[in-house]
Amino acid sequence: MTITNETATNEADKSSKRGQVAMVFDLNKCMGCQTCSIACKVLWTQEQGEEHQWWMTCNTQPGKGTPKDWEQMGGGIIDGQPAKGHQPTRAEFGGGWDFNYEEVFYGGKGRSTHLHPIDKGDKTTEWGMNWDEDQGAGEYPNSYYFYLPRLCNHCTNPVCVTACPSGAMYKRHEDGVVLRDESKCQGARFCMEACPYKKIYFNYVRDVAQHCIMCFPRLEENVAPACARQCPGRLVFVGDPEDKSGPIYKLVNEWKVALPLHPEFGTEPNIFYIPPMSPYSLKEDMSIDYETPRIPPEYLEYLFGPQVHSALGKIQSELKGVREGNSSEILDTLIVYNWLDLFGKYTVDPGTLDRSPEKVAVTLGATRKN
Amino acid sequence: MFTFSLSGLEIKTQDGGPLEVEENETTARSAVYMVLGSFFQPVCQEQYDKAINDHLDKEMKESASLLPFEFDTGVPSIKEGSTFDDYKGEYVRVFGDELGAGSLLLAGDDENVIAQLKRDYEYFGLGVGEDKKLDHLSTALDFMQYVCFKEAASPSPRLKGSYRRAQRDFLEQNLVNKIPNIVDKAVALNPADPFNWGLTRLNAFVEADFKYITSLLG
């Protein structure tokens, strides 16, 4: 069943080879440090109307995450049909806080004030991009949580493109990046309703929607996206899942240990996850319980679909094998002996490029020079 | 005894005054740098007098006597009856102007190189007088003369090693790579003696000295 966007504004040159930039996140190396989300924010969303925007986020699962309770907000494609979704409100994202620096430091009020987010009465100080950090679920001492980095999945079947009435959104042929021409966007925000991952934000100052652009200006110079390149945990593979020589193809299609999040949302996301192991749980008498896994398997299935059990089992058996002295190509890949092996062809060092504003403006082409 | 004197360069260490050291292969290298340093300094009467009364040849041969490597001191000559003005005219013709600033500068206008040279000189205790051009070839040769002498004059083996390494690094970063084309450019103007003699000696000595010092340090 093909979904078309009846209002597409122009056709692509289909002659060149279709590409897709995908990522694999190894959740057994993510430490929830927020470097990826901060790296993205400092690079892309520090201008007016972008204060609350976090195109890259890393939340504690189980948890409500951002926007608050996004997993219950609908959207996506069910039985071949785009399904109604909730458009997340400014309060459900929260964050974007201003602080009373002036008042505390120079207001002459001494101890009667303290530094805190300023409450503008719009309920945005009751939630944020990482509000329920490290809480998780379960009961002490068998509580559990893990971290889940999320960005726009640049889906193979982008229902946001389908939902846009003004044809502002498109998916690039050469690398599959889903973008929005903001000069066409009328702020209708059906894309925000339709996206099941709720990874689209709204700019209330410029009256346009914005979302992760997969660092396309960096991709065009073969530089890896900022979230992947700055991740201190070295767990983000970047590349084309169709490139058989690359690690992503093997992790997703050959070894089948990297899985899409919420596959039932039906948009065929291009961000994959290696499911998280967790420490053995403890029995009543505090002895080790080797049978009952700390993270309930049904919860992992709710996130990654039924194939999560075989994927997790594969990782655990590889680990058992290595501890018995055998080698493991999967684990050697995940160790990432050489950091640049993570990034496929995107290995250029950004520090060596000439990106002077004059040069960059020139190469932009007439249409986009503002 | 090898007496040590610098043209226009101050010694920053406390002891000051003329320093005398037992003559050996290191003072010999220092002495040859002294001869070359004064030869390439901005043109002056003293240079001409040395050349005209054959003092140049004596000075070079004496200095080179204890050198620890092969070095042909050649025979400097000067056209019979040439005056100081002839000498100066040839200097200006070959090196661009009376200061030799045309072709004898190592850094041109690159401030980073000049800042680095200044830090090199000062760290090893050599202050450069206001009138001296920091990156002039003669200043650099004076620095080589100074650090070779300091190696000979240092009490502690660690200090000796540090001065020796400074010689190698300075030669490598500033002289071995730049002197060949300074010399080639000047020689192409087929300069009369003693300039031709000075240029070819400079090239040969720096090359031989660098080979010697790097073999020593391994």
Partner: protein, 201 residues
Amino acid sequence: MELKTVGESPLNPSSSVWSEVSKEVIKLKPVPVDAQPNQYIRNAYKDTPYGNVGEVSLSVAEHDNQVFVRLEWDDSNEPNIEFQDAAGVFFPESGSSESPETIGTKSNPVRLWMWKNRTELQSGLSNSTDLISSGPGVFHPVEGSQSVNAEASLSNGKWSVVISGGKNIVEGSRKLGIVVWDGSNNERAGIGAVSSNWIEI
């Protein structure tokens, strides 16, 4: 409906000039859901009530080669920070016979002058845009046009808005359609209330 010429620019909705111009109540009805431009919007809004504004009182006037369309409608509910109230008047190309209820079609696009109630945050943006509409919400900005202006005021639960633009646009068909979006009901793009048939002027 007669296009009366007036002595001065009646851009201000409460300008006394309007008292000399006749008013007419125009019935509005929701834009038909199956006309919505894509499967998502059709699926999402087929059983979601929209097009709250049932009727709008219209008056038109002309001055100095500009057409001024004044709209007035009841809007008692609370504005929300997500969507703003908005209204638009649109003109078909001459000779098109399609109904206005889809605010133009792919084959017969209409020229839409839209007013949007700007928030304080959006003080840097214009409150009016000049669009080509080829269907409900299928709006494309007209390159570089500044001929559309608008002024609006909300008092005791009633919006009064004046939208103006070049008379040449109106000359062709001498017909206009009206669309009103109730922001507090999250109305925007094709989700709004539209006049079911053209108003002749």
